[in-house]
Symmetry: C2
Subunit: 441 residues, 2 copies
Amino acid sequence: MEYSKQLIEKIQEKKARVCIIGLGNVGLKLATEIAEEGYITFGIDIDEYKIKLINEGFSYINDVSELTIKKLIKSEVFKVSTSYELVKDADIIIIAVNTPLDEYKIPNFDYLRMAIEELLKYDLRGKLIILESTVYPGATEEIIGKRLSKVGYKIGEEIFIAYSPERIDPGSNIKFKEIPKIVSGLTETCAKLVEEFYKKIIKAAVYKASSTKVAEMTKLLENLFRLVNISLIYQIAILCEEANINVWEVIELAKTKPFGFLPFYPGPGAGGACIPKDPRILLWWAKKYSYLLEFIETAVKINDEMPYYIYNKILEILNKNGISAKNSRILIIGVSYKKNINDTRESAAIKVIKLLLELGVKISYHDPYVPSINIDGHQIRSIELNSENIKNNDLVAIFTDHDSINYELIFNEAKFILDTRNVFKNRHLSKIYTLGKGQNF
Amino acid sequence: MEYSKQLIEKIQEKKARVCIIGLGNVGLKLATEIAEEGYITFGIDIDEYKIKLINEGFSYINDVSELTIKKLIKSEVFKVSTSYELVKDADIIIIAVNTPLDEYKIPNFDYLRMAIEELLKYDLRGKLIILESTVYPGATEEIIGKRLSKVGYKIGEEIFIAYSPERIDPGSNIKFKEIPKIVSGLTETCAKLVEEFYKKIIKAAVYKASSTKVAEMTKLLENLFRLVNISLIYQIAILCEEANINVWEVIELAKTKPFGFLPFYPGPGAGGACIPKDPRILLWWAKKYSYLLEFIETAVKINDEMPYYIYNKILEILNKNGISAKNSRILIIGVSYKKNINDTRESAAIKVIKLLLELGVKISYHDPYVPSINIDGHQIRSIELNSENIKNNDLVAIFTDHDSINYELIFNEAKFILDTRNVFKNRHLSKIYTLGKGQNF
């Protein structure tokens, strides 16, 4: 009781010190948002390079400006380190480490377990631990709760454990503080504390789930919904292409229905750290109940196959125009998985580039957000987008529709174009091949 | 030219006479909405009983009030018949016939073909024919356009053919005229005419598709989106039930996400004339392109299996409480496929009742909208919902959550309850078994 009272007071008076573990897209964003609210904020990451960048005032994610980083570091509201020593002075510890898949697509929670082991080196009494990473239902209790109970901490009395799934949407216009936040705790007191904390941070509503399990499942459902609907529209796009129907027009029209419809758009395959991964966490976890999630299997499969479909489409275009793949030059536009950001994790562009390189295609790319990429040990640098660099290629393939790209130049100068994002909308030219439109095949 | 000009003028001056063929949920609703706008409106249906009911001032669908029917019939703005003779005086013919599946789940367009053959008995020059039924992409052209061309009509000059998919949502609060309407035509003139006509009828925007094929595909995508997301939540509900997670709470929480999520809810299986059918039209049509729509196959399968899941759940509840199915009495609440309407087509309740009757279960039901149902030739009448009728049963199974039902009485009097719609929300009682909640199994 004493501990929770103290913590509530510190939160109310904005005197609670917050330490974020894992400074990736989620962690760094969270840290700066909390620090900007006036809380002394610490950040820990095992990556020395990231810590160096932050300390020198650079930002490596698009949703945090360098100005913000510089300001926060200079004013000493925000302090970062590779050392867990910072935990000592923190009242609230937020874990935002990655929960990736291994090479067999099995979720791996080792980063989370390692973070807990590091934390256990310190006296954690009186502290609130909030997990933000996407995990399977039951993970907060099983991975954090049980471990801390085992070493003797009384959860809900001397230590507080919460789950609050991140809902950050990289590159989106919706502000972090305007996205409602879901909170939950292993005990009622744990839930109350995380609720009070986020009510201070978030402008939007804070919703308390009845258990951490429910909150964990909620996050999985949200991202499963996206993958299923993205995969669905991929399948419909391919069908429309074959049937000579413009799927982009179909979606625009369906969007006019005021109920029961939400538009999703075709593309070369959904990437990033969440959408292709989270449904696999659910798939893996459901095996515990011997439950076959055919829907997720189908959604995952269709999304996984999409880069191969695009690869085949490129070969078709080359062949149709009498160009052998081996002697061809292809310029890729955009290698990040989503527009206006620099994240290339699980990016369809990278997957297709690998396949094309194996065929002997000469690949170059342009991405204003990604200066270089590493394909099987070979570094490729983004080239300038100019007439010569466009004309020099047999095909320009648009994978990511960054807003700042000069599409007009591509439209005018390219020999052939594969447009996987419909950037040219209703402009027709026989040299343009658009995913989900059938007129050219 | 002459014909289209005349028609445009008649539309502008509200002097066009409109004839609706097929007076089902869509046709009767459309007819009354158009008649209420002041257009002389005719209605044709091959079902003599329906025509008799309308002429006597009765309504057989919930979205059209008897007051409206009585008023329109009395004022002679609306005239109905089983005879196609009415077509003679019509300028605009709207086809809203059913496009059902046959017993092998293959779409059957015979009602549409028959309607066209009936129309061909009259001089159709100068008339606009609008198809509203859900059909495969290309159907308006292949089934209507080609047939009329064959007998010599010049489409776009002396006859006008359009496709405008109905978007009626039975039992919903959204008004017909506030739902944006998609229109399309076999020629530019055809499209222009249907656009002008619906602009006079609809308050919401009217969107012109570039072809009838695109408009046909749009309608299929809208309903496919629904079936896929409904089936997805069924699968997640069953998983949650097994994992002891309340799926209803999960959905409420996920709903707080301001982007990328749309809530769909568990239930005993989606019924009605559209959602289970339309995706099968797409599935059938896609075979033409040798294209396997795994997603639709999965969605259709999960929805088809749902009544069997509910049936098994009922047997589990009976067994758990030591009641043999053969000696049990079950009261079904709600037999229409959706709340607050009387439509029992493809209703999950009816499917489960059939299965239970085969086991020898004594079934009774209560539905304020459906006075009687016919199961394999046996008529069952809705009984009154009172203490005795509830107590008299071993189990009360709620299939349809009509708003007017006295759930309090069921809550208090029933021995056991299966709640497939979560009508009892957060009220817990060990005798209540709720789909998608695991606490009792």
